[in-house]
């Protein structure tokens, strides 16, 4: 077996007295969906924030095995540098560019690729042929993702005016337009109706099959997680309490206990319901 795309070792994040992430180990592989689950406040989003350069981890190593650039230690990069390695995320509380159109959102995502082609705007200002070709290609990329996410009809709408479910899709389309290596999704099914959730599942499975990228998925919808994940990591109170295939996780006592410990027992019901 080849080495995993992402190798997280001993990730620790402390906020003052609060140990939000406590020595978590995690791997993500290409062509695999790795789910990260755990009760609310377990530290999942914080793990994403460390991984994508928004927080500097207190300790730990985040190794990305980049096919072209070789091994990269993500925790050493500047915030925006992580995305440039191909690790791209979405946010639990959607962050679009609300008064820009959907298409513009997807073009902003291709900034890194387009900037050199506009030769720092000079070629763009003169509207040279090379630039025009690059822009057309970018629009085509955007169009592909809009089509896949069923957003073509709203391409010219302001992103902020769309329905919640659509905004979630725009965020995924925007992340995919960057041509990522590892896609990190923070609760992408939150607020979606069952039909939208099924479409999302199909989409993720499709991306896994076609694009050769790794997917890290934080999700509370256990049905979705159990259906499409190849590997599941469970965290509780910042620590990793279990990891394995969906079948293994479903029967793991510590996991059941972590969820039962919650006043809100809905999650367990969903976890059980996922066993179909």
């Amino acid at each position: 077996m080849t080495e995993p795309l992402l190798d997280v070792q001993g990730l620790t994040m402390r906020f003052g007295g609060l140990l939000a992430v406590d020595g978590v180990d995690l791997t993500a592989e290409r062509n695999r969906i790795t789910a990260l689950i755990g009760p609310n406040g377990a530290g999942k989003t914080t793990i994403f924030n460390c991984l994508t350069g928004f927080y500097k981890p207190t300790a730990g190593r985040l190794l990305l095995r980049h096919p072209a650039r070789g091994p990269i230690e993500l925790q050493k990069l500047k915030g925006y540098g992580v995305a440039r390695t191909g690790v791209v995320r979405t946010f639990q509380n959607i962050r679009l560019f609300p008064s820009m159109t959907v298409l513009e959102n997807l073009l902003v995502a291709q900034h890194q690729a387009l900037m050199p082609r506009s030769v720092f705007s000079f070629a763009g200002l003169l509207n040279l042929k090379g630039w025009r070709a690059a822009e057309e290609a970018a629009v085509e990329t955007a169009r592909d993702w809009l089509r896949r996410l069923d957003l073509l009809a709203v391409a010219d709408e302001e992103a902020g005016n769309l329905s919640y479910g659509m905004q979630r899709r725009v965020e995924i389309a925007r992340a995919m337009s960057t041509n990522p290596l590892l896609l990190c999704l923070d609760e992408p099914a939150a607020g979606l109706n069952p039909r939208e959730t099924r479409a999302l599942a199909e989409l993720l499975v499709g991306i896994r099959a076609e694009h050769g990228i790794g997917i890290l998925l934080i999700e509370h919808d256990m049905g979705l997680v159990m259906d499409i994940s190849d590997h599941i990591v469970v965290v509780d109170h910042g620590a990793r309490i279990a990891a394995g295939t969906p079948a293994e996780i479903r029967n793991d006592e510590r996991v059941i206990k972590a969820y039962l410990g919650e006043p809100d027992a809905d999650d367990v019901a969903t976890a059980g319901g996922g066993a179909h």
Binding site: T52, G53, F54, K78, G79, Y80, G81, V82, A83, R84, V88, R89, F91, R95, L96, F97, P98, S99, M100, T101, L103, E104, L107, V108, A109, Q110, H111, Q112, L114, M115, S118, F120, S121, G124, L125, N127, E136, V139, E140, A142, R143, L146, L152, A155, D156, R174, T178
Partner: protein, 433 residues
């Protein structure tokens, strides 16, 4: 909210409301309208004009009452106007709006009513349009509040003044130097402060604006201090001057073209120079908005965190926004210096920064057409009110408040998308056709 007056509010309520407003107005009027301290030989004395107090109360009472009664029918009458959208054909014409406007502006000085005064006013308006076009990049597009924009204006002006008087450069190289100096200054200033967010950034830019002005005011050796710099080179047309007599070794426009000398020629030439600069700047911004850099500016305004998550370096985006805005500020400053032939620090105080910012915000942030309308408004309105010279700044302040209350997003607040998928023809279809 400005109590949305509906006709259902009982009259008694309205009367009470207007009555309170009138009483407050009377109270406010006492120490300023009712009593007036005057300097006399023996010192200060207070003169009482207490008649003003009930007058102020009555005016406010009636004003409030009438406005309250009229607000609802007025709003109803204006509603269809506000909801009106130009038809699609007119939208397509929009692409021609810019060039048509420039053509009209070129024609202006040759129209029968265009006297010196009109041309001069047009030149001033164009300077403000250029300044606001620059500030619009920083504030309107990138969303970085800048309260010290006059600093860049000043640096452009003084660069022009000093290079032409001390180094004997011509206007055109000085213009380039002015723009670049401003831009460079913006980069140096912005690097340490870009970590700051929102209002903190605003207050620091305010500080920089003041520092620049104070340094210019006090660095006598270089800037001449409060006396300023005079004898700044005038713009030339391929080396031709617009003077009556040619300078040593030079030629004048009238000598070479054979057109009889007229002092208006210089005015018209200056007007055309600033028109060309402004049109070029507006065109550049319009193009930049459609380039990665311009989209990154707007994306930064919308959500800096999302920008970072897409690999965009916010610092570079901010610096480029400041530098581009300052470049235009510097060009405007340089032109201003050459037009006046003289600069002094008092042209670059905070009120100047506030005026330019007011143009951007009143026009509608990010909107070029808005900038043009607001600049004309701000330059021309006080001129129209010249007869009431004393009251024009009062009216100016009042107008700023009223416009913000009427249209908080600015006069033209809609944002035009930079690209439409429906216009970009899909490759497959294009090939099939």
């Amino acid at each position: 909210m400005a109590a949305p007056a509906s006709t259902s509010i009982p009259v008694a309520h309205r009367l009470r409301d207007a009555g309170i407003a009138g009483l407050v107005a009377m109270a406010l009027a006492v120490p300023f309208l009712g009593l007036r301290t005057v300097n006399l030989d023996q010192g200060l004395v207070v003169q009482a004009n207490l008649a003003y107090v009930p007058l102020a109360g009555a005016v406010v009472f009636l004003g409030r009452l009438v406005l309250g009664l009229l607000a609802a029918p007025l709003a109803k009458a204006v509603a269809p106007l506000a909801a009106w959208r130009p038809p699609a054909a007119a939208q397509r014409l929009r692409a021609w709006g810019g060039p048509l406007l420039v053509l009209a502006a070129v024609a202006l000085p040759f129209l029968p009513f265009a006297n010196r005064y009109v041309i001069d006013l047009g030149t001033t308006a164009l300077i403000y349009i250029l300044l606001a076009t620059g500030l619009n990049i920083t504030v309107g597009l990138a969303g970085l509040l800048d309260l010290g924009f006059a600093a860049f204006y000043a640096i452009g002006a003084y660069t022009c003044a000093l290079t032409t008087t001390q180094l004997h450069w011509g206007f055109w190289p000085a213009l380039v130097a002015g723009g670049l100096a401003s831009s460079l200054f913006a980069v140096l200033l912005s690097l340490p402060i870009l970590r700051l967010r929102g209002d903190y950034l605003a207050i620091v830019t305010l500080g920089f604006g003041e520092i620049t002005r104070i340094v210019i005011l006090n660095w006598q050796g270089l800037t001449g201090g409060p006396n300023g710099v005079s004898g700044i080179a005038r713009p030339t047309l391929f080396g031709l001057t617009f003077d009556r007599r040619a300078p040593a070794g030079g030629h004048t426009f009238s000598e070479v073209t054979g057109i009889a000398y007229a002092p208006e020629h210089r005015l018209i030439f200056l007007y055309l120079v600033i028109l060309a600069l402004t049109a070029l700047a507006a065109y550049t911004v319009a193009r930049l908005r459609r380039l990665p850099i311009g989209r990154a500016w707007e994306a930064l305004r919308e959500d800096e965190i999302a920008c970072r998550s897409l690999g965009i370096n916010p610092t570079m985006v901010k610096v480029s926004a400041y530098a581009s805005g300052a470049l235009m500020g510097g060009l405007a400053g340089c032109f201003f210096a050459a037009r006046q032939g003289f600069v002094s620090p008092e042209s670059f105080g905070f009120m100047e920064s506030a005026t330019i910012l007011a143009i951007v915000v009143l026009g509608g942030m990010g909107s070029q057409a808005g900038v043009i309308i607001a600049a004309l408004f701000i330059v021309v309105l006080p001129e129209l009110a010249r007869g009431f010279a004393d009251y024009r700044m009062l009216a100016f302040g009042l107008a700023m408040i009223l416009i913000m209350i009427w249209k908080p997003g600015g006069l033209l607040s809609g944002r035009l998308p930079t690209i439409r998928l429906s216009n970009a023809k899909p490759k497959s279809v294009a090939e099939a056709a």
